[in-house]
Amino acid sequence: MAAERILEVEGLSVAIPTPSGMLHPVQNVKFHVDRGETVAIVGESGCGKSLTSLAIMNLLPHRAMRSADRLVLDDTDMLRLGERQMSDIRGNRMSMIFQEPMTSLNPAYTIGDQLTEGPRRHGQSGMSEARDRAVWLLEKVGITAATNRLRQYPHQLSGGLRQRVMIAMALMCGPDLIIADEPTTALDVTIQAQILHLLAELQREFRTGLILITHDLGVVARVADRVAVMYAGQIVEEGTAHRIFTTPSHPYTRGLLDCIPIPGKTARGSHLGSIPGIVPSLIGEMPGCHFAERCRHATGRCTSRPVGLGDGLGPDHRVRCVFSPEELQP
């Protein structure tokens, strides 16, 4: 049975004019999400993960310009929609959880008000129905005394609780797709795991598609079905989580994986890897491979012409590198 496609992104680019020239933080991004699937986007800070998700939601900052070849949610071509029609979709069929739970809730309104706002806006239910669902979802995300919580204000809740509220909020309208942009980065390490488990659990239960943006490869290994590795605005490798973790084929992906200890595989006391060098500036056009500067395999071939995302490794694994994996063996 073919999986049901929830989101299809093709040729997604973002350009931001800056005083020093045009910035290209997202370039020609292509990936998809199926129903009930978790797709992880990983990559170091500043590689364009947040802007990619904001571009999908059409919530980019004012000056940023978006272009895409395809941007389809279920069977709705989002490229054809105006802002008003997009707002009908946002929070309804597609919702987002942000990185900063401390500041993502409005300090002036109660949790209950902010939770029920979505369904009321999208005409899904009246006030009392929405409240019932809010209570039910708050309990689902592990918040006790949910009915009382509805009357509380954000400042009365801890960061972990607020992020749980944000998750409940994202689920209020029963979306097909949730984008979680580093939902745990701002939280205590002990709470991070809980929140991620919760997210994965709910995603399975409600069979939503989930785009999980994170730095944490350990988490990715546990919850992701597929992984897209981003570097300097581009997806450099994409495939099933299994393939990415067992046969990483881009030097950058390998570098990333070397940076995390793997239980049972990494010997105690041995050195963890690190990737030397810094991320290139994304201002102006850059021909060839973006990683070339930091790659120990790089040759003239890498920077002379654009490198495409090749699928020579099979249907569920694509990589943006001029070398084949065999050529890259140390």
Binding site: M57, L59, S87, D88, I89, R90, G91, N92, S95, M96, F98, E100, T103, S104, L105, N106, P107, A108, Y109, T110, E117, G118, R121, H122, Q152, Y153, H155, Q156, M166, M169
Partner: protein
Amino acid sequence: MFTYLLRRLGVAVLVALTVSLITFSMIYLSGDPAVALAGEAATEEDIESIRTYYGYDRPILVQYGDWLFKALQGDFGQSHYLKQPVALVIFERLPTTMMLGLCALVFALVLSIPLGVLAAIRPNSLIDRTALTIAVIGQAMPSFWFALTLMLWFGIVWRLLPITGSDSWANFVMPSIALGYYITPAAMRLTRAGMLEVLSADYIRTARAKGLRSVTVLFKHALRNAILPVISLAAVQFGFMLGGSIVIETIFAINGLGFLAWESIQRADLPMMQAIVLVLSVFYILLTLLADMLNAWLDPRIRVA
């Protein structure tokens, strides 16, 4: 919330007491009040009898206590010039000034808040620049000059509004504009700055991510948070406006407290001036108290501790 209110109230009472002390000492600022009252031609005995008659011979603290006790009961003594109870005259004139102040405040807020919001939505746009120009001009222009300009065009050249008097609502239009215009620039800039800050807040992004309509995002989620400092400003400025009403009421010959203050200064009517200063100050203290309470009610971080 309750302790906050109590603390705030305590501060207000303390400030009011301090103000009353300062107001009371006003009579000694201009020298011996008995000498001043008695006039140029008075003999030593005249002065002495006036001093005992008005009780200026008692210890200062006793005089203050006596004065404060009476003032609390609404007795500010007799006007030296009008030979009427001061309280009576003041409460006759007070409503006119309050009316003027309120109209001016409403005019100022109705103009400045929407302009500030518009300027913040499109920073550096034509609207923003126009608003900025208005603000700069407003801050640079003396209010008496602005009042006279209004008078010239609306009253004399176009003959749209009456120039002086306080009999009908039409009399209040120009004074309200002249008085309210004074606080418009500050309120507008503050609204703009507040909105700009709030609009880039994370919770605004959350609101948009929920698919809320832009009107809801703007007015429910943004303005409510951006307006807090504007309320405090409005309260403070309203107090200044009461002071400014001395100029405006005199120019437009409006029979309010400001005009009365001006008249009393000219007549050296000390009890009257004392009472006016005290009433305006207490009113001002009440206003800031009210503004703080309004802020507490709007901002749950203060209200629900």
